[in-house]
Symmetry: C2
Amino acid sequence: MAKEENKKMVEDITSMDVDFAQWYTDIVKKAELCDYSSMKGCIILEPAGQAIWEMIHDNLDKRFKDTGVQNVAMPLFIPESLLQKEKDHVEGFAPEVAWVTMGGLEPLAEKCCVRPTSETLFSDYYARKVHSYRDLPKDYNQWCSVVRWEKTTRPFLRSREFWWQEGHTCHATLEDAQWRTETMLNVYADFCEQDLAIPVIKGQKTEKEKFAGAVETYSIEALMHDGKALQAGTSHNFGDGFAKAYDVTFTDKDNQLKHVFQTSWGVTTRLIGALIMVHGDDSGLVLPPKVAPTQVIVIPIAAHKEGVMEKATEIAEDLKKNYRAKLDDSEKSPGFKFAEAEMRGIPIRVEIGPKDIEAGKAVLVRRDTREKIEVELDKIEEEVGKLLETIQNDMLVRAREHYAAHTSVAHNFDELKAVIDSNPGFVKAMWCGDRACEDKIKEELAVTSRNIPFEQEHVGDVCVCCGKPAKKMVYWGRAY
Amino acid sequence: MAKEENKKMVEDITSMDVDFAQWYTDIVKKAELCDYSSMKGCIILEPAGQAIWEMIHDNLDKRFKDTGVQNVAMPLFIPESLLQKEKDHVEGFAPEVAWVTMGGLEPLAEKCCVRPTSETLFSDYYARKVHSYRDLPKDYNQWCSVVRWEKTTRPFLRSREFWWQEGHTCHATLEDAQWRTETMLNVYADFCEQDLAIPVIKGQKTEKEKFAGAVETYSIEALMHDGKALQAGTSHNFGDGFAKAYDVTFTDKDNQLKHVFQTSWGVTTRLIGALIMVHGDDSGLVLPPKVAPTQVIVIPIAAHKEGVMEKATEIAEDLKKNYRAKLDDSEKSPGFKFAEAEMRGIPIRVEIGPKDIEAGKAVLVRRDTREKIEVELDKIEEEVGKLLETIQNDMLVRAREHYAAHTSVAHNFDELKAVIDSNPGFVKAMWCGDRACEDKIKEELAVTSRNIPFEQEHVGDVCVCCGKPAKKMVYWGRAY
């Protein structure tokens, strides 16, 4: 029975080299991150997926609060009339919202939509709450789910309902709004690199790609294992556009009535998709220690032998004092437990059997490299601590290497066309700034501008598409 | 300016003896716990309210996980066909759900409702995931908001959308389900008493009052300052009713295919309403230290004088090491700051001015009793720690005294009628078990059975309503 289960868990995974999309879906299912639901296009976050999202939540929430952000909770619904006040915004979202038309047994006097995002609700709230410069800034955020009626969906990457945080802030000046916009982009980038071990490119979205209603949109872009890009977070400066549409004004120090300046910024459960596609391998998920719900799992070998379970329990209890540790005392075979711990991406497993105990040792196995390290029993805690740090650092280094190896330069359209297939990944190329070139590149190559990076490099003088003088260096890629 | 603001903050509050309902609403608004939104019947949790909810979340979530519960996230929507599988359940909820009939620009083939509760979604999920006794138990919970299209609403007590947690579990035997049902009721009761300082009565709901689809419903009932009862949490044993409706089966150890046994249990943002109405006074909220987002606030007196702000900052920084402490360094007057700290219910304020500094002392002021305690500067941390414990204990003692003083006994209908007005609160009275008596008491006195307490007392032999032989002692009351 045990052997059969063990075999089953491994054989069910498609190799990522054979079929990347299927490999991704297999991990999502086998690691029990999420499941499809009877509500078409909506997923269920299962315990393992929810636990990762809670790690992301706790970590980011602390970072937000350190910058002065406070949490609130806005209604789930937006009355139709409220949604329609900002023209660009409603045009951007109306085609994909879910409409509530009946409450109880009666039709509603005014239909309302389930929030696709909450700029409208926050603006309406700020219009009532903000009166004086003393009321500013308002730096609010909420953790919730939002709904966009997508036609095609993929777990974590695109679903009709997804979980996210959305920060919405209000400021006295455009400069303050810009500071908040950039600060949050930096928080996201730092979190991705330091905690998720995912390197990202910080930059500005083009006019074509910016958010409906924003003056400027900034993003962080990450590279997946298959060379596709993934937008991992966005931060928008709205200027006073929403303030004018929703009449959010304040009396400034000079006694003049002025419109506020607003921002919004968000990351979503997509980040779990990024974790899978940046770090995963053919045995399953590989989680960076800082966001692994379980950092170390203790697996007894020959658990029926005298003293083994006692020792394994003792080790697990000691580790729990400083790490997120677990003992696998289930009745499965050690082989099955190994496969399961690997599938779930637990950074370190501790193997302890009769021979180890006799020798006063245990074996630590790294999930990322599978390296086995023999340690003295009385040094386990210390060694686990060091190893978790090493794994976290090594994972970032490897992700950076992959990103560097899959970033090319193109000087003209033919080069761009060739390189995007020969070495799928980011392509750095100059751009004239014209929408027409962006459109052509998207249409002919299915390649989009990812962002205009803050760290500009000079990789040529002319636009990669039209050959006219170039204004900016842009990161291009095929994206999720 | 400052004086005017100070006066305004205090005069805006209605005394609870003059108009309890208005007093409640005033606190909700003035302490900025929540605000009305443009979406009728839906509230906005403002930072102070959300922060309390996060304290409740963090504390309860840890207690849940200690009993083996794992978190998940289910979809927001329930397809109509799924909602309709359990007859009692759909009858209970259909009249008050919000229906989504359009997705994007197109009508839906099947309408779906926004979850009023998620038994149906969990049962559907379990039907797919549970196969063997090895898959049991499933002890899952989610933190989310739910929607019930209520006609009349009151902040925290009744609104169209509210925030809660809903646990949904699956077991191999009825006994296991009953253990989980009672365990969670005990978790709620212990949390209310130990952390919220709110004494509660644990007991079973009558047939009339039980949850749609449940075999047994249990509740904890609390008493508000005005003598009205508030159901503070519920826990349901569903037997195998949902399992049969949703076909949730498993192969047991004896190789027989059996239906699982299920439970659900929840507490909501109502608990914030309970905190207001159990502990609040005419100066605002009074928060128990264990769930106070800010436990101690340092307020400098004559902050412009040399050394005052430095000392106040130093004290606040020291306190932050072990407590949730804040410094109020705003430009408001001390009087305004005192009133604001009282309104927000912060358990302790520290006053520090030039004379205090000279004497090497500071003044601690208790929010609950307003007692002023002079302490040596180098003993502040220690004294604050002790005082927080004292306040937590004293608040529970006072709430227990209020509950005892407002709990009466009635032996017949006339006594019940008289006492419910002369001493509003709980009434202990015997009941024959007939629905007709319960209906009559509700109709004529607007009094409902709160629960049949686990701790039965013998307060008579005959039913308080019909005079026939009684079966059980029941807590009765007028309820929110």
